[in-house]
Homo-oligomer: 285 residues x 2
């Protein structure tokens, strides 16, 4: 089976590499040609544009920055739709709007292309180790077809529902991470004000109902004062903008989510967008 | 060694029962005499008041509703202080204010009584099974002395720091649970508005960085629509009032914690204080 991979940032490159190592014929394209070099030296075929790539593959993956980028590589000039053979499946691993995903799926249908949303969590380490968590929006039939191909990249796969639903789950994931982090910061402020050892509080809370992965991992980052990403605040900020846009469109008032998002934005506006988003701890309260 | 147990509600009775079964001579007192009957039939000695009880034991446990109740049984008329032999250790398992705990510790010192705060998490099931999580405020020496006696009641023991620090950790625990629950409700509102299967979202999120015990257990309660406590909203509301009082005294602005607390209070004000606090999900947003 021939696979295509478009978008070779930290996440995309690591995932494409795992597909290549799993033995697939891999066709690649990235906006920056230099991003293709390493994979090309390992046997991947570099294509001139997304349309050319699409003409040579059965499944194409996209992993780019935002909604506009996904639209460009799928539906823009020289986009996937213009080269695709009917029956092509486009699996978008970017984190973008669920509503935009559904709109693009409708358009791609006219070209015989089926769009699947498959955003992930697990970060660059998960991508390198092939342990990503996939949240997938696809028909059951398509899900069953692509699952074997996804396997080299991930550990946990959940078909949330049909197209767009994977992005909804990812948005929920980002709400939970942003919100639990903001709460973690508040409980640490409380403990500090009472003069209590934060490491002991973290240790005790991990043993009970307050346990969370955010308390475990971001708690450690905060104690160590080490905000090396992890997951960059700029990207979390982008994801929270998707959440807030959808919430607005659906007339939802998500009070805590709004505050948690605002804190991440403050961090980015301060010029610290390259830090892990847990660095919201360093903002003045 | 002779032990005393004051306060035989659901939590107190279960803990006292485990001490009795571990072979200790147990002296008991409760405001409602009928609460003593079951333990008395199993061999516990019922005392006339806290002072009388204190005169017969080496360590006395208190497990009552709020700060005023703890003050009453420790320092009130016929309170523990009036009967205590010098060197008595009073271990308070109630959840009350860390600041009030420190003030009471100072007063009890004048009677030769050492106050230890040892609030727990794990609920009635944890109490019955002896798997509670203890957050302890005591000197290292006192901690080492009481630990063997606590063992029949709990599984995880953390000495947070000196007196009052256990209550601070417990307050942090309640902030995390209230906050993570409020965030869970918001992400479920988001998923519902997008027409996505909540069970699938929960399943996917449990596999990644969004994982938390609140998502696991409260998520299940919300999906099942079963708000049998668990942990009653009235009690969570009481604990959040402690948090907000301390925050006020320390000039802390805990934005998310305030909103999460308000939601729990709304539930209680609506007349649903006997439900599990995860029933905040049923409030109109």
């Amino acid at each position: 089976m021939n696979l295509g991979y478009i978008g070779l940032g930290i996440m995309g490159k690591a995932c494409a590499c795992r597909l290549l190592n799993a033995g697939y014929n891999l066709y690649i394209w990235a906006r920056r040609p230099e991003a293709c070099m390493e994979l090309a030296s390992q046997g991947a075929t570099v294509c001139g544009n997304p349309a050319e790539l699409a003409s040579r593959v059965d499944i194409v993956f996209t992993n780019v920055s935002d909604t506009a980028d996904v639209e460009e590589v799928l539906l823009g000039e020289n986009g996937v739709c213009h080269g695709a053979r009917p029956g092509l499946i486009a699996v978008d691993m970017s984190t973008i709007s669920p509503l935009a995903t559904r709109r693009m799926a409708e358009k791609l249908k006219q070209y015989g292309v089926e769009l699947v949303d498959a955003p992930v969590s697990g970060g660059s380490v998960g991508a390198q180790e092939g342990t990503l968590t996939f949240m997938i929006g696809a028909t059951q039939e398509t899900y069953d077809r692509i699952l074997p191909v996804l396997k080299p990249m991930g550990k946990t796969f959940t078909r949330i529902g049909n197209v767009g639903d994977g992005q909804t789950a990812k948005a929920c994931n980002q709400i939970a991470v942003a919100g639990n982090t903001a709460i973690l910061v508040e409980l640490m402020r409380f403990a500090e004000a009472c003069g209590v050892d934060l490491a002991k509080v973290r240790e005790a809370l991990l043993g009970g109902f307050a346990q969370s992965r955010v308390l475990e991992l971001h708690g450690k980052r905060i104690l160590d004062g080490d905000f090396t990403p992890g997951f960059k605040a700029t990207l979390h900020n982008k994801d929270m903008n998707i959440v807030l846009d959808v919430a607005k469109e659906k007339n939802l008032n998500l009070e805590l989510t709004k505050i948690a998002s605002r804190r991440i934005k403050e961090l980015v506006d301060r010029g610290d967008g390259e830090l892990d988003s847990s660095a919201v701890y360093t903002l003045k309260s």
